[in-house]
């Protein structure tokens, strides 16, 4: 393998235009670059010359290494924040920085998680099914009326916004702007979404202000939503004001954009694979969890996460020092043939327990059961009410290498 090939593969992972112009046959991902790096350069140091990003990070691409680091929270800290991107509210060195689940290790992470996790257990989430189904029916009703539309905005955006709005306890009339702030924050490389850094900072400020305001209102009430639980923990002195705001920000940012990406990539690939669409249609009365997880795998809504070494260590001959940032590359791990059979194929019946999109360690996605139920219910309603879903024009990807937005996915619904 020539040094030029390896250098080109490394560069592809962090070039937003590579993702904007991604190949739909490869899920919009630089799969060939991942394969080169997994085989020949499984741990390398990458420098970044961009004030929005960390200065340098080790990049780890094999499923085995990604899983091991993700599961070992004692050797790999969260204290520096979870992303390559320095989101202001997740950056404790920034004036807007707030401590949260995603900037904290044990025992603080456990203390914070325990104020929120009851609302996210499978049993509690299952109780939401009827409400989710009502949202899904309304979304499909409206979509059928419009007929031809951008699936990303019309369907994939609305479902998580309403469902998560319910779980978190964001009033219906505030949901569009609440999740809108996160969208602005999460797409710093796409001028169509985020025109400038100032706009992103203003969105960040607005999100934190709103979180404090809503938290303040919920300290007394008896509601069972997650923000109310956080607010009561705050009133009881179990979490600080800053932790309340930080965690509301984390809940907002983890929730909507990622599920929208998974639904959009999932639908896009179903349109490309008629036999997989037919398989799912046959199961529209009870969409299997495996199908949902396969969409979460191929979309990998967060392409990589950051960790920080808590001690000097060595990996594939590289010396990693205490405090160094390591990027565990979830998208590459999700397509590693050493862990996942025929990873480049969409297979809705695949074992759902292999992908790393939700994380596999103590910091694994708090909302994974909510996301899975939202997607299942929406797919069931959509497939039952349509005879066919057909492409209605060229699709396009978002310009980002950290999150995985689909920008445009025009479709036409043919009613059942």
């Amino acid at each position: 393998m020539s040094p030029e090939t390896i250098a080109a593969a490394r560069a592809a992972l962090f070039d937003p235009d590579v993702f904007k112009h991604g190949d739909p046959a490869k899920f919009g991902l630089p799969l060939d670059a991942y394969a080169v790096l997994r085989e020949h350069d499984p741990c390398f140091l990458q420098e970044f010359d961009n004030p929005m990003l960390r200065e340098r990070a080790w990049v780890v691409t094999r499923h085995e290494d990604v899983s091991a680091i993700d599961r070992d929270a004692e050797s790999w800290s969260f204290a520096g924040g979870p992303f390559l991107l320095r989101f202001p509210f997740l950056d404790l060195a920034h004036p807007l920085g707030k401590p949260s689940l995603l900037t904290t290790d044990q025992p603080d992470a456990g203390r914070q998680r325990s104020t929120m996790n009851r609302g996210f257990t499978p049993a509690r989430v299952a109780q939401l099914e009827e409400r989710f189904r009502r949202y899904a029916r309304e979304i499909v009703d409206e979509a059928l009326e419009v007929g031809t539309f951008n699936f990303v905005r019309q369907v994939a955006h609305t479902m998580p916004m309403e469902a998560l709005g319910d779980v978190l306890g964001v009033p219906a009339e505030d949901r569009e702007r609440f999740f809108g702030w996160v969208d602005t924050l999460a797409s710093p490389f796409d001028e169509r979404v985020t025109p400038s850094l100032e706009v992103a900072l203003a969105a960040n400020q607005a999100l934190m202000d709103y979180a404090m305001e809503l938290g303040g209102k919920r300290r007394e009430g008896g509601e069972s939503d997650v923000i109310s639980e956080l607010a009561r923990a705050n009133a009881a002195g179990r979490i600080s004001d800053a932790e309340l705001a930080g965690n509301v920000g984390v809940l907002a940012s983890g929730a909507a954009e990622s599920t929208r990406s998974a639904l959009s990539h999932g639908m896009h690939q179903l349109l490309r694979k008629p036999e997989q669409m037919a398989w799912l249609r046959e199961r529209a009365s009870d969409v299997p969890l495996s199908a949902v997880h396969e969409m979460v795998r191929i979309s990998t809504p967060f392409a990589q996460f950051a960790r920080f070494a808590t001690r000097d260590t060595e990996l594939h001959g590289q010396s990693i020092h205490k405090g160094d940032c390591v990027l565990i590359h979830m998208a590459s791990a999700n397509f590693d043939p050493a862990a996942i059979d025929r990873p480049d194929e969409l297979d809705l019946a695949r074992d759902p327990g292999l992908h790393v999109s939700f994380g596999r360690g103590p910091h694994a996605c708090l909302g994974k059961h909510v996301a899975a139920l939202e997607m299942k219910v929406l797919l069931e309603e959509l497939l039952r009410r349509t005879k066919e879903i057909v492409p209605a024009g060229p699709m396009s990807y978002g310009r980002c290498f950290i999150t995985r937005p689909v920008f445009d996915l025009p479709v036409t619904l043919v009613p059942a």
Binding site: R71, T121, P122, A123, R124, G353, P362, H363, H369
Partner: protein, 64 residues
């Protein structure tokens, strides 16, 4: 086979209750996943092993 959940490690991720619902349960008032069937039959062994392997906080132990 005997199944144990360490309540100090469990953080209510709940994956075990999806993988092996006959064996694990999280009730509304429980602070950790509860083993409702401490000695599951052989037929459930694979599911229990998967739950233990995938537990994000390594809170599940199997004793033979």
């Amino acid at each position: 086979m005997r199944v144990l959940v360490d309540p100090r490690r469990c953080a209510l991720h709940g994956d075990c209750t999806v993988t092996a619902p006959a064996v694990f349960e999280i009730r509304d008032d429980s602070a950790s996943s509860v083993v409702r069937m401490p000695e599951p039959p052989r037929a459930l062994r694979a599911a229990v092993e998967e739950a233990a392997r995938n537990c994000p906080t390594r809170a599940i132990r199997i004793e033979d």
